[in-house]
């Protein structure tokens, strides 16, 4: 039924690699343009930003070609498994960045968003890239429409996340700079918040206590995802395995599958394997991988904090981020304002129409659907925060950051942690 063309699939892999190179080059150009511009005070590196944008655009074109080649090669629209979907999501994020960059031209944003695309692509290689034939449920014209449009909306949310994070860092940087200035000129107690910031940019009471910590947790979370990706990529090609009846582990099984005796796989460094049995509510294998990722993420974060930034990572970055905070806020809002209707149509409305056609009801409260709704509610809250006087600015930016976390959980977490009717989209980790 589906004719496959292996040559096109191979071509697609090479095009994808070129796209990857484009994004990496763009990341380096954006970063060097920004850092070089800062050091030389704008005298040099003025053109590097344009090179970056061109490299990025070339990456997007290669990526589009790769998607078309795989579509033709596999015989179906390439959003049918996690490998394809995460790659597609990387594409839509980069496309969204191109759109936003046409309007605002902020190279600093590119320095943050391009590596997000690089990361997403690296993450997609965690999943088996084999072309698998479609299960009957996915054979519908809704597959390209629903998934692509939802991913496009999510791509804009990724850009909004980048801009919101930069906004939070920038405002924090202004706050720190003002505080330093006060400390340099006057003695006595420091004001908690400098008065040069607008009302929206000033810290809310909770933020005074939790803001810095939340930022560090965010960077730790990013380290965990990075650690997880590295780990998974290394494992895929290392070939270690511990075989249980219900699952095959590629990492030493500290948390064994449900029903496996402790110590049934010998021991490692004197510790019995598995060390504990998985609880009923989560698959042992996923929990095991998560444990390793949390530890590795902690190591990465700890290394950066101890040797690179020598203190809180957020504050270190905040002192180095420049740009107009208002523009960053505006970028974040515009990205949401484009992504929100697209996501509503693709991620919710078309999903409902498809569900009605495939399963008989437009809404099941299946975990994936529910989490799409939660993501939608989060961005709805963001839009309402912005129009509530005094709740815009920082609060809204935090919600935009959180919103992208919800999106990532909807796409990845739900598949790995919760099993539902979308479970065919799950990968083997």
């Amino acid at each position: 039924m589906t004719t496959q063309n292996p040559m096109l699939v191979t071509a697609s892999a090479w095009l994808l690699f070129l796209a990857f190179v484009g994004y990496v080059a763009a990341t380096l150009f954006y970063a060097s343009g920004f850092i070089g511009g800062r050091i030389s005070q704008g005298a040099k590196f003025a053109k590097v930003g344009n090179w970056a944008t061109n490299a990025h655009a070339a990456g997007v074109l290669f990526h589009a070609a790769a998607i078309i080649a795989r579509w033709q090669g596999a015989g179906h629209w390439p959003t049918s498994n996690m490998y394809e979907f995460i790659g597609f999501m990387a594409f839509t994020s980069m496309l969204a960045f191109q759109v936003i960059n046409r309007i605002f031209r902020m190279h600093l944003l590119g320095a943050l968003v391009s590596p997000t695309g690089v990361f997403l692509m690296a993450y997609s290689y965690v999943f088996p890239p084999k072309v698998a034939p479609l299960v009957p449920a996915l054979k519908s014209y809704w597959l390209p429409i629903h998934v692509s449009l939802a991913a496009l909306g999510e791509g804009f949310f990724a850009v909004a996340f980048g801009a919101a994070l930069l906004y939070l860092l920038r405002v924090r940087g202004l706050e720190l700079a003002a505080r330093d200035e006060v400390a340099a000129t006057a003695s006595g107690p420091l004001p908690a918040t400098p008065t040069t910031l607008s009302r929206e940019e000033r810290q809310a009471p909770w933020e005074r206590v939790w803001g810095q910590r939340a930022m560090e947790v965010l960077f730790y979370g990013m380290s965990v995802m990075l650690g997880f990706t590295l780990l998974a990529l290394i494992l895929r090609y290392s070939g270690f395995q511990w075989i249980f009846d219900t699952a095959t582990y590629h990492l030493p099984p500290i948390i064994g599958p449900l029903g496996e005796a402790v110590g049934s796989k010998g021991s490692l460094l004197g510790l019995p394997l598995p060390l504990v049995e998985a609880p009923t509510w989560m698959r042992g294998k996923h929990m095991n991988t998560m444990l390793y990722s949390l530890v590795l993420g902690g190591l990465i974060y700890g290394f950066v904090r101890a040797f690179l930034t020598k203190g809180p990572v957020g504050d270190w970055l905040a002192r180095r981020v420049s740009g107009d905070s208002e523009t960053l806020d505006e970028i974040s809002y515009r990205a949401v304002a484009i992504g929100y209707p697209v996501f509503t149509l693709g991620g919710l409305i078309f999903a409902m129409l498809w569900a009605k056609e495939a399963w008989g009801d437009y809404w099941f409260w299946d975990p994936k659907e529910t989490w799409a709704l939660i993501a939608w509610l989060t961005y709805t809250a963001y839009l309402h925060l912005r129009i509530s006087r005094g709740w815009g600015g920082r609060r809204a930016a935090w919600v935009a950051v959180l919103g992208f976390g919800v999106i990532l959980f909807t796409l990845i977490g739900v598949n790995l942690l919760i099993v539902g009717v979308h479970s065919y989209a799950g990968g083997d980790l």
Binding site: W281, P341, W365, L377, H384, V414
Partner: protein, 492 residues
């Protein structure tokens, strides 16, 4: 004598005679103009409730609470989604442990989205949607239709985008009109706006969301949403419960990929009404059959041992006859020869010996371990000439007494298709609601409302503009209006 000063209605401080406001607390005096001051407890309550729900902050908090409530429900397996035959009372204590299982059930977390707290939250959001919209829409409409045109220069200078140029109001009016602005003038001032409809967008979304919410609630009403499940074996017709039609499964097909994964499920199905086929179509996943408001879906399938071809073998090892035994529903007796028949004494489709009663019984509803116990009887006299027991799917040697024994030659598989029937009257309303939501979103996010005030002052035009979205676009628009790029006006 001086008249006694009145007392403030709010704080009780003395208010000078004829004073409209309290000097202490600033509250306006005089009940005639302020009907809200003379209130019964009830109207005061309604007033407060109105103000509460009209707040954007309250709406935001409700949205966040709804999101958190939805999270809770996604973490516990829901009653309508778990795949187990047991009832919730038995299932959850086993799934999550006796304490947590019962706690989740008590908190309604096992049916979170129909639980009292979730429905209450949704209702609060609905109330907030209605009141927020009413509270803002009418004043907004008034200011959009009858804007204040005459403005002080100090107001104009305070706008997001401001500029100055030489020229006349007439010239500005015509260039604004050319650019698609609606223009109103008042003395030395001018007001122009474009994309006004964008401001109504959020309220259109809200109306759409209310339609969606009401459609979803309508589903709970009796007869609005009907669901039936039928299992139809190949080649048979099954009546759909509580309807006037039946469904025939002409043939169920499952196709596989070379890897063994399924590629297609399909049922060649027909709707039968009054003995006549009124509709026939191949039902597939993603391709339901539609008939008189019913949507008929391919939901699942099952195969089970269907008909066993049982050979009757005599003592010489010669087969005497072959009997087709329906393992779901065997006949009471089968003719073996002209003189002998096989009389079924007992039959179990999933044989097991109940440990409590020590009696044979069925372990499940499925045909898993069919066991047939039968007698060979002379047709003419009714005399039992032999006995046989047959484990249809087992490899055990035949158990028999007398001249005949039973041997299974082959077992035909019987395919069942599971069809799900839905008749949901709320669907058109839901879809219309979704359409309105989407329309509102397009209007809200892809149209921009730009307002421009212009004031003529000593031969120069002072311009101030405000954007509800897309400030950058507005800046460019003002640039074009003022001719900044050709060096005429300047923009701040």
């Amino acid at each position: 004598m001086r008249l006694a000063a009145a007392k403030c209605e709010g704080c009780g401080a003395a208010v000078p005679e004829g004073g409209s406001f309290c000097p202490a607390c600033g509250r306006s005096q005089g009940t005639a103009e302020r009907p809200r001051q003379v209130q019964s407890g009830w109207t005061a309550f309604v007033d407060r409730a109105w103000d509460f729900f009209a707040s954007t902050r309250v709406a935001t908090v409700l949205i966040i609470l709804l999101a958190l409530g939805s999270v809770a429900g996604s973490l516990v397996e829901q009653e309508h989604l778990y795949q187990d035959w047991r009832l919730p009372d038995m299932y959850y204590p086993d799934r999550y442990g006796p304490f947590w299982g019962r706690l989740y059930m008590a908190l309604g977390l096992t049916h979170a989205y129909t639980s009292i707290w979730y429905v209450t939250l949704v209702l609060l959001v609905v109330v907030s949607l209605i009141i927020c919209s009413l509270h803002r829409l009418i004043p907004l409409h008034r200011t959009l239709v009858k804007p204040q045109v005459w403005k002080l220069s100090h107001f104009i200078r305070r706008q997001e985008v401001t500029g100055e140029t030489a020229g006349t109001l007439d010239g500005m009016e015509s260039s604004l009109r050319k650019r698609g602005f609606k223009v109103v003038r008042d003395r030395e001032c001018l007001y122009a706006d474009r994309g006004r409809i964008s401001r109504y967008g959020p309220y259109i979304i809200h109306i759409g969301l209310l339609l969606v919410a009401f459609s979803a609630m309508g589903k709970a009403l009796p007869a609005m949403n009907q669901v039936r499940d039928v299992w139809v074996p190949d080649g048979q017709t099954v009546k759909v419960p509580e309807t006037d039609f039946a469904i025939t499964n002409h043939k169920f097909t499952m196709e596989l990929y070379p890897s063994g994964a399924p590629s297609r499920f399909a049922t060649d199905a027909a709707v039968v009404k009054g003995g006549q086929e009124v509709a026939r179509q191949t039902i597939e996943v993603n391709h339901p059959l539609r008939y008189e408001g019913w949507d008929i879906y391919q939901a699942s399938w099952r195969e089970e041992p269907g008909i066993a071809h049982v050979a009757v073998v005599d003592s010489g090892g010669r087969p005497v006859a072959t009997l087709p035994v329906d393992l779901r529903n065997p006949a009471a007796e089968y003719a073996v020869t002209d003189t002998v028949k096989l009389v079924v004494q007992s039959y179990f489709h999933d044989f097991v010996v109940d440990s409590a009663t020590n009696q044979p019984t069925n372990a499940s509803f499925e045909v898993k371990n069919p066991v047939l116990l039968a007698d060979f009887v002379e047709s003419a006299t009714g005399k039992t000439v032999g006995k046989a027991a047959l484990l249809v799917l087992g490899q055990t040697p035949p158990i028999f007494e007398g001249a005949y024994r039973l041997e299974v030659q082959k077992v035909e598989t019987r395919w069942y298709t599971a069809l799900k029937l839905h008749k949901d009257h709320t669907v058109p309303f839901m879809y219309f609601g979704l359409f309105v939501v989407m329309l509102g979103m397009v209007i809200t996010f892809f149209w921009f409302h730009w307002q421009i005030w212009v004031r003529e002052e000593s031969g120069r035009l002072l311009l101030g503009a405000r954007a509800y979205k897309n400030k950058f676009g507005l800046k460019q628009e003002v640039r074009r209006l003022l001719g900044t790029d050709s060096g005429e006006g300047k923009i701040a």
